[in-house]
């Protein structure tokens, strides 16, 4: 049996098992709700709750994401608490605003640990905040879970206390979609990306993937941060390319409008990362030009993109409609491709606590918790992991999962391909398990 077969048979059994478990707990959830939130699922009363600190971008540049991250965190905690908590203990979520600032982020970690004495920290999205916070979490000996996509965790820039199990990272995402791009859209690619770490991760990963799949990166066009007009960079787009690959480069409405004016109808295929239009309605003026272009999605915004029992349940719990917008305000589009990471991370914490027997903040318990998490290989698809199953690399502390490729058709995103987990795997020498914990 080769690895692919091994994976798929593992997956099948896992999915079935998780599905059965999921159905059971879903039924429990709804029946618990029906009797007014009282639960009989074995919660021990009088036991200290598990405190999870939540570093959230309530203000600052990350606020549109932060709003949704917080909403998902509350929904997940609500669900977990109604269905038995973590090892029979309730979760107490303590959210603190980090102002999307690295300085404040590190301070929030201190406050969560030293003032609130949390057991675990659910971390941030923005890389600078994660990078400034991770070392403090390691020093204070509290597991820190980033939901960021950055390479800081897998590439070993942080420490053994930092994990990213709930969301895939940029190199994983790019590696997976690059295969599809080179096979389906064409081999000759030019890329436009922001000239900072996030963009460099894209550049490096796509360059590597091009070597692997026989593509060619004809031109790399970095855009300096803070740029407000892009046309002058478009002159560098070669005429003879098949695909123009673009990632978040600034104000997306301006970018797309200027791109439309410059390229017109005779354009190469466009492939973008949803990050640039995350939480932006596709009906925004100027985005008509995106019709017929492709996007990476972490988790499809429109419900029919990945319609499973679990994804429907998750959508319902978070309060998001079929079009990926707030149920009570359809103009408020969610950060659907990222925020599921918060949901899944909370369940990873639950899994690792329950399997490791973690009970309190002792060296022994944390050691057991971290080693248990590091030894996990798979997160099966289910209510706990609605985006799909994930392979977890305990040396890198990073998850690898499925990615979605969608095309904009009639002003909505339609999924055309779901990548395999194997497509996103890459090698990296980092090994956190060799670091000492205390």
């Amino acid at each position: 049996m080769n690895r692919r077969q091994a994976l798929s048979s593992l997956l099948k059994t896992g999915v079935v098992a998780a599905g059965a478990a999921g159905l059971g707990s879903a039924a429990g959830y709804f029946s618990a709700r029906a009797v007014g939130g009282q639960t009989t699922s074995g919660l021990e009363t009088g036991v200290r709750p598990i405190k999870i600190g939540f570093q959230v971008h309530r203000t600052g540049i990350g606020a549109p994401y932060g709003y949704w991250y917080e909403r998902v965190a509350n929904a997940a905690v609500n669900y977990i608490n109604k269905t038995g908590g973590i090892a029979g203990r309730l979760i107490e979520l303590i959210a603190e605003d980090d102002e999307t600032s690295p300085a404040k982020g590190a301070q929030v970690v201190e406050r969560l640990v030293l003032a609130h004495n949390v057991d675990f920290i659910l971390g941030a999205l923005f890389s600078d905040v994660v990078l400034a916070s991770g070392p403090r979490a390691g020093e204070l000996k509290r597991p820190y879970f980033a939901v960021s996509e950055g390479t800081h965790v897998p590439f070993g820039k942080l420490n053994r206390w930092c994990f990213q199990p709930g969301i895939t990272d940029v190199p994983g995402q790019v590696t997976a979609v690059a295969k599809w791009i080179f096979e389906n859209l064409g081999k000759r690619v030019a890329m436009i990306y922001p000239d900072y770490a996030f963009g460099h991760d894209h550049r490096d990963a796509l360059t590597k993937a091009a070597e692997r799949y026989g593509g060619r990166i004809i031109e790399k066009i970095p855009i300096p941060p803070g740029e407000t007009s892009f046309t002058k960079y478009f002159t560098r787009i070669p005429r003879d390319i098949d695909v123009l690959y673009h990632v978040m480069v600034g104000d997306v409405l301006t970018f797309i409008r200027e791109l439309g004016v410059y390229l017109g109808r005779e354009r190469p295929e466009l492939f973008g990362f949803i990050d640039s239009i995350e939480a932006v309605p596709l009906s925004s003026p100027g985005l008509e030009y995106l019709e017929g272009t492709y996007f990476w999605e972490g988790f499809p915004r429109y419900a029919d993109g990945y319609d499973t029992l679990y994804s429907r349940f998750y959508r319902e719990a978070v309060g998001v409609d079929e079009n990926g917008a707030d149920k009570s305000d359809p103009s408020r589009v969610s950060a659907f491709s990222h925020m599921f990471g918060v949901w899944e991370t909370l369940f990873v914490i639950k899994e690792a606590v329950e399997q490791s027997g973690y009970s309190g903040q002792t060296q022994r318990d944390y050691e057991a918790f971290i080693k248990t998490l590091e030894s996990m290989d798979w997160f099966n698809e289910g209510l706990w992991h609605p985006q799909g199953d994930k392979f977890f690399n305990g040396r890198l502390h990073q998850s690898f999962g499925h990615q979605f490729i969608s095309v904009v058709r009639n002003g909505r995103l339609v999924v055309v391909h779901r990548t395999e987990i194997e497509d996103s795997l890459y090698e990296h020498p980092n090994d956190y398990t060799r670091q000492s914990l205390f």
């Binding site: 102002e99 030293l114 990078l131 770490a197």
Partner: protein, 315 residues
């Protein structure tokens, strides 16, 4: 008499900070360590703002140059915190001479605009050379490259941060107190009160301004360098405009005595904004509201200068 009281206060302050430490809960210890580092920045800012009456909007660049000087040295050259600290201070001193040569030739709002533009230039440079600086995302220093790492065998992280920043702050307070009573300090005050008269007496006021600006920049840079070496993270966020505006509020709140004012103001603003975090969304709002309240309380347009006027003659 007043001189003696203010000098005494300057000596008592560090002792009080050392004495209060064992009484503080853990989180407040960590918070205070951060505030003490910022207080050094506050003193640096006061040397320019309060002593010679020049309001700069570019000190974040001077703070950041110290941070980058120290951090990049520790990251790329050698994990030696002491050498890195010196490199950081040297970098900020050089940069403030450069900034000062240009901006101290003009006064008032031109000075503000000049320093603001210069600091934005540095901020954008930090972003532009992100392959080296880490840009917005920043860089994490190895533990052995930080002061906390070097003191690791002796002190816990919490203690190391608090007492290192307190020691540095004490040196700064003593230096600023001596400066304010020295001949040079009196010249600075004279410059603030009446530049024309001083010029008529034959003093080179541009050179005086440059000296004050450089001292101010070196202290701000020292604060940035300590920030980098105590917390092990450097990033372009510290070079942003907000970091230039905050010390204005600290110094204003701190009141007229330069020996203790910058410390008191920095403590008051930061501790209050930490307390108010549950009430107000984001401390940016707290800082803004504080500045606006001050502007109203002390008379709309000349608010800053009025408060400075209070300090006249009280060196």
């Amino acid at each position: 008499m007043r001189v003696k009281i203010s000098a005494l206060a300057a000596l008592v302050a560090p002792l009080a900070l050392a004495a209060v430490y064992p009484l503080l809960p853990e989180y407040q210890r960590a918070l205070m360590s951060r505030v003490l580092i910022l207080s050094i920045y506050s003193y640096g800012y006061a040397v320019c703002f309060q002593m010679i009456g020049l309001m700069s909007l570019g000190h974040a660049a001077l703070f950041a140059s110290g941070m980058y000087g120290a951090g990049l040295y520790a990251f790329y050259v050698s994990p030696d915190p002491l050498a890195a600290l010196l490199v950081g201070v040297a970098a900020s001193t050089l940069l403030s001479i450069l900034f000062g040569l240009v901006s101290t030739r003009v006064g008032g709002s031109y000075f503000m605009i000049g320093t603001l533009l210069a600091s934005q230039a540095l901020y954008l440079a930090a972003l532009h050379f992100n392959e080296v600086t880490g840009g917005e995302q920043g860089l994490v220093l190895k533990k052995e490259a930080t002061i906390v790492g070097a003191l690791g065998p002796l002190l816990s992280e919490l203690d190391a941060r608090y007492f290192t920043s307190l020691a540095a702050l004490t040196i700064v307070i003593v230096c600023v107190t001596i400066l304010s009573h020295s001949r040079l300090g009196r010249l600075f005050h004279a410059l603030r009160d009446d530049e024309g008269k001083l010029e008529a007496l034959g003093y080179n006021t541009s050179a005086l301004k440059l000296v004050a600006f450089t001292i101010s920049g070196a202290l701000s840079g020292a604060s940035g360098a300590l920030q980098a070496l105590l917390y092990g993270y450097i990033g372009a966020g510290y070079a942003g405009i907000l970091n230039s505006v905050e010390p204005v509020l600290w110094v204003l709140v701190g009141g007229p005595y330069i020996q203790v004012g910058p410390l008191l103001g920095c403590l008051a603003v930061n501790l209050l904004s930490d307390l108010a975090r549950g009430l107000l969304r984001g401390h940016v709002l707290t800082v803004g509201a504080g500045l606006v309240a001050f502007a109203f309380a002390t008379g709309r347009l000349r608010w800053a200068y009025r408060l400075l006027g209070v300090s006249r003659g009280r060196g």
